[in-house]
């Protein structure tokens, strides 16, 4: 399960820390173990321009958040949701789903986690926070409205 890529992300997480400005923040918790993540999303029009986060969690949840930032920052919201779906399908696939490296990049390293159901939630914690934050982010037109 502990692929070298996962351990690398865990030791040197990408995009860690909470940054301003942001459009929405999500706090997620894993009730079975108490692990937490606070994650912020900044959108630029339809593009995810920044994801910043603070986590209190295991290597899997930390590395997964790190990979998440690599995979979604710079993408459109729609594209990032496709990546999220692919990641989720792989993680919940019980080792039966063949991950697509073109879509998931370093994320494919988490394929092994799928065989440890208790850890799937760890791998998804950041992604659930991302999804939630995107939903909470004011839509582009609303935002102009607020900004203006």
């Amino acid at each position: 399960m502990y692929q070298e890529i996962i351990l690398d992300h865990y030791r040197s997480p990408h995009g860690a820390g909470l940054r301003e400005p942001f459009d929405a923040e999500s706090f997620q918790i894993n009730p079975t173990c108490g692990d937490e993540i606070t994650l912020r999303v900044k959108l630029d029009g339809d593009t995810v321009s920044d994801v910043s986060y603070e986590t209190l969690g295991c290597s899997i949840s930390q590395a997964s958040a790190s990979v998440l930032t690599d995979l979604v920052v710079g993408r459109s919201v729609e594209e990032s949701m496709r990546v999220l779906t692919a990641f989720q399908e792989m993680a919940q696939g019980r080792g039966q789903v063949e991950p697509d490296e073109d879509v998931l990049g370093d994320g494919v390293a988490f394929a092994g986690v799928a065989r440890y159901p208790a850890r799937v939630k760890c791998a998804l914690l950041g992604w659930m926070a991302f999804k939630d934050a995107v939903v909470r982010a004011p839509a582009a037109d609303e935002k102009e409205h607020i900004d203006g």
Binding site: I29, P31, T32, Y116, P117, A118, R119
Partner: protein
Amino acid sequence: MTALVEAPDVTAIRGDFPILSRTVRGGRPLVYLDSGATSQRPRQVLDAERSFLEQHNAAVHRGAHQLAEEATDAYESARARIAAFVGADPGEVVFVKNATEGVNLVAYAMSNAGVRTGLGPESERFALGPGDEIVITELEHHANLVPWQELCRRTGATLRWYSVTPDGRVDLDSIELSERTKLVAFAHQSNVLGTVLPVAELVRRAKAVGALTLLDACQSVPHMPVHFGNLGVDFAVFSGHKMLGPSGVGVLYGRAELLDAMPPFLTGGSMIELVRLEGSTYAPPPQRFEAGVPMTSQAVGLGAAVDYLTGIGMDVVHAQEARLTEATLAGLAGIPGVRVVGPTTMVDRGGAVAFVVEGVHAHDVGQVLDDRGVAVRVGHHCAWPLHRKFGVAATARASFHVYNTLDEVEALVEGVRAAREFFGVS
């Protein structure tokens, strides 16, 4: 109808049930006609539980080690198969210890909803108070009666009931529902009369006034194909031990949208989201309603029971029981002084046959039968108001499952004759 579905191989089926080959009262073969109280269990169910316990046992939804994962998988797989068996989604199936707990769960969640502190607006639809009504029927088992009396005691609401006609049917004109009716709770099939209730019509009437519905499916799910989704009920309950499964496990079904909005009942570990000493938040259903370490191996056993019943086919089970019921009604009709309490034809009727023998108390009928190896239940069968309605303190009741035979029905009928002779009323 009985002719359309092929008969099961009852001899082979009986071979799966070790207890059915034992003898009682000095060597008489056991004739078990008390499956309405509790059914017996096939080897397949016993083996499933045992192999779970010898190979995979661990606390579910709690551990990250391999056994804990395997145990959780077995538990959730059972939930999914049981859900499919009754036309529900897995998230709509809550494991409880028995149907009684299931009814209490809804009744307490409703009074809990009335304590608004700390609850969101979504729970408001479950709250009730003075002036509101809970409606049941006169034929309910105590499990679907006393919890509602207590809910009314706690909230000041009023309990009303549809009365029962002399031929054992629910009299739909006996009361009118109103806007104040919050919930209508009724049996799918009476555990005494055998009557199958008009679920669609009761649901229609409840919906028309915006009331929730709860179906007591204890005597239907074990005996016929049942699809809660199609029936359109909001909640339903049934027990594992009446459907060839373990004791100590039952199911509360609730429509997803309702379980989602309903406040919890039992609280503790595994049903929480976030716990601080100052206050806690709750997990989503079904976990919200499953506090503490659950009846794990029992859920696995119930999953195996559902597989076993599916293997036979619930239509086959139902047809076999119909054959037995028809033969029982015919046999008893041939004995003078025997009165069946409940419908005497097969129309909208399942396999519980309660009867009284003029001049012989039900206890004495039961005793004579027991001495011949025939096990029936005697008493009010937890439906005391219904017995009062029919002017009897106690009845004898024969009830069936797919493992029973026409020879056993014959033994029952012969035994009733013998009781009359013994007490000198023939």
